[in-house]
């Protein structure tokens, strides 16, 4: 009996590791160059901004000699490329400089505001995924039905509505009229003295410390903005889920699974969704990254002390250290999320493990 061995079975493990290392190297190189580009672009924008940065530091009423002195101290009189090098040097030694606006080192500020955004975006994505995926599956399975149309329209409206507008309207309804939710910020001022966050993710922290009254308060603050962001990621996720599911459901292996006598539930959730999950991971990661930036407008409306608000505030005040720091951090998170989704993709899809 002549059994044909295929090449892939015979491929040695060592080669696999080398290929992985190579891929990792390429990825890191890409990440580093992207980073540098990121820095250059932001730096350039920061220096072209038609705002006198010294004005941001001193205000309008400072006498002229003070203005000149500070300009020199800050190095704004140096040529652009020198300023850039000084900046890069700072970054490489882990120093993002001080924020003009808050006087703190930028890293300290970001450590404070980032968890707020992370908490918001994470909750939003969780809502989006836990509602969006089942909706997408439902729409795909009942393709063309009323349910499908409803999911589609819900999704399309999500794509079409201005987030800040919806935020305003829902704030009026749920806070001003119904008093269901709390506003503004992340936590009531009452807890300023009784609650010490550890990670900065207030929901986790309060639950961890067993402070359920705090947890409830935090929840009342976060639920509305998180639901709004959740709606937007839901729109995206359900739509993508639908199309991935339609694609998987038309595959032959689904016919095979049915031919085996599997129940429809098992075919859909055990096989089709399991396969659709592979690209879905990327979609969810992308939507997470999208929420991080989508929070810029939402955070403005909800006075949410996150990084979006921090960046917009800093930008308007020509606080370039803060803007650059914030952008680098968001860029890092973006790149990190990409890496993570790539890794997840690899673990979920056996086909990518070798080759």
């Amino acid at each position: 009996m002549s059994t044909v061995e295929t090449t892939s079975e015979a491929r040695p493990r060592k080669g696999r590791a080398r290929a992985f290392a190579k891929a990792l190297g390429r990825f890191l190189f890409a990440a580093v160059t992207t980073y540098l580009g990121l820095l250059a672009v932001t730096f350039f924008i920061g220096r072209v901004v038609p705002i006198d940065p010294v004005l941001a530091i001193l205000g309008d009423r400072a006498p002229n000699h003070v203005v000149e002195r500070v300009r020199q101290e800050m190095g704004f009189n140096l040529p652009l490329y020198q300023q850039f090098f000084i900046y890069i040097k700072g970054i490489l030694s882990g120093d993002f400089g001080n924020s003009v606006l808050t006087t703190n080192p930028v890293m300290v500020d970001i450590r404070r505001v980032l968890p707020a955004t992370i908490e918001l975006a994470t909750l939003g994505t969780l809502i989006g995924a836990f509602v969006g995926v089942p909706l997408g599956v439902l729409a795909a399975v009942r393709r063309g039905s009323i349910a499908d149309q409803v999911v589609r329209v819900v999704g399309l409206v999500g794509y079409s509505v201005p987030i800040f507008w919806l935020a305003l309207i829902s704030l009026v309804i749920f806070y001003a009229q119904l008093r269901w939710v709390a506003f503004p910020g992340r936590i009531d001022i009452v807890f300023e003295y009784t609650f010490t966050p550890i990670t900065g993710l207030y929901l986790l922290d309060s639950a961890w410390q067993g402070q359920w009254d705090v947890f409830y308060d935090v929840f009342r603050h976060i639920i509305l903005p998180a639901s709004l962001l959740g709606y937007f990621s839901l729109a995206y996720i359900s739509r993508m889920t639908r199309s991935f599911m339609l694609n998987e459901l038309s595959q032959e292996y689904i016919v095979a699974a049915r031919a085996k006598g599997l129940s429809e539930t098992r075919v859909i959730w055990g096989h089709a969704l399991r396969n659709a999950a592979v690209p879905l991971v990327t979609v969810i990661a992308l939507s997470y990254a999208g929420l991080l930036e989508g929070s810029v407008l939402t955070e403005t409306v909800f006075s949410w002390p996150g990084i979006g608000l921090y960046i917009t505030n800093s930008l308007q005040n020509a606080d370039m250290n803060a803007v650059l720091g914030g952008t680098i951090v968001i860029g890092t998170v973006f790149i990190g999320i990409n890496l993570l989704s790539d890794l997840l993709y690899r673990t979920l899809d056996p086909r990518t493990r070798n080759r």
Binding site: L156, W165, N247
Partner: protein, 311 residues
């Protein structure tokens, strides 16, 4: 060949269009367009979208005839913040005593201006970068994609904000900023499409005819990318409208007294508790128009790009 190039009496126009043995280039092209059109119109929601867009075009074209008031000059003394339905003010007035309805009508021109210009600027850039990058491969690809990645690694809105901050607020600068931030995804799409067709036999076949790379890209690869690009651009229109409105909302977009919808929401925001209509009306206008584009894009995708449907 006896069949005439024009529809014979025995053959209805529809049959002529649907004929699977077209007699001329024109008939083939029209037939194809007709099939696409039928696929498109089979999607009722898409037709609704198309109607919305047509209405938008109509309104923008005849704004001066439709509007009942001057969009910029209001009656501060007598007509400030009147609720909808007040005599002669259909949708109420804003804090400058201007007719919101008329402002919305004129605002459609700005909306159109933004999306058309952004599309005209960013789609070709994305198409060229993407196809060249995908087809050339190697260091050209690496370089172009690096640049694309850099732009993609930015939170889009923050980047647009930064650009507007650098260029100064105003509608032209908002358009430039949005265009600068919207081409990278197009480049990605075009590149992905190019990569899938680059190794395909039909491109190999053209290469075997002796066609130059330029010719292959322009005549054979680009047309293939265009339909998914059109779909994507149409779907993006909504996003562009929203981004422009977002910039307007943050005060960095169109300048007063221009009746830009996002800026109208921003100025209405102050009255949201008592005079809800000032902010609500432009929000609804944005919602309707971007919904229109989304519906249209969805339908176009199903018609032009069946295999991409849903993505």
């Amino acid at each position: 060949m006896t069949a005439p190039a024009s529809p014979s009496p025995a053959m209805s126009r529809r049959e002529w269009l649907l004929s699977d043995r077209p007699q001329s280039r024109l008939q083939a092209r029209l037939g194809r367009a007709y099939v696409t059109w039928r696929q498109f119109t089979a999607n009722r929601l898409a037709v609704v979208g198309l109607l919305i867009i047509i209405a938008l075009l109509f309104i923008a074209a005849f704004a001066n005839l439709i509007a009942t008031h001057d969009p910029v000059v209001g009656d501060l003394r007598n007509a400030r913040l009147l609720p909808p339905g007040t005599a002669e003010y259909l949708l109420g007035t804003d804090d400058q005593g201007r007719d919101i309805f008329s402002r919305l009508i004129y605002g459609s021109r700005l909306t159109l201006l933004v999306i058309v210009l952004v599309a005209v600027i960013s789609a070709p850039i994305g198409l060229i970068v993407g196809t060249v990058s995908g087809y050339a491969g190697g260091w050209v690809d690496a370089t172009l994609m690096r640049i694309t990645d850099i732009f993609l690694a930015f939170p889009k809105l923050v980047l647009a904000l930064a650009f507007v901050a650098a260029l100064g607020p105003g509608i032209q600068n908002a358009i430039i900023a949005i265009a600068i931030t919207s081409w990278p995804p197009y480049a990605r799409i075009a590149r992905a499409e190019t990569l899938t067709v680059r190794r395909s036999d039909y491109i190999s076949a053209v290469k075997l005819m002796g066609a130059s790379p330029l010719r292959i890209i322009v005549r054979h690869v680009m047309p293939l990318c265009i339909s998914s690009l059109i779909v994507r651009v149409t779907l993006d229109m909504a996003g562009i409208i929203l981004t422009a409105a977002g910039l307007g909302f943050l005060g960095l977009g169109a300048q007063p007294p221009l009746p830009e919808w996002g800026a109208m929401i921003a100025s209405g925001r102050r009255f949201i508790l008592d005079q809800w209509w000032v902010a609500a009306m432009p929000g609804i206008a944005i919602l309707i128009v971007s919904l229109g584009f989304n519906l249209l894009g969805d339908g176009l995708r199903d018609a032009l790009d069946p295999k991409e449907a849903g993505q």
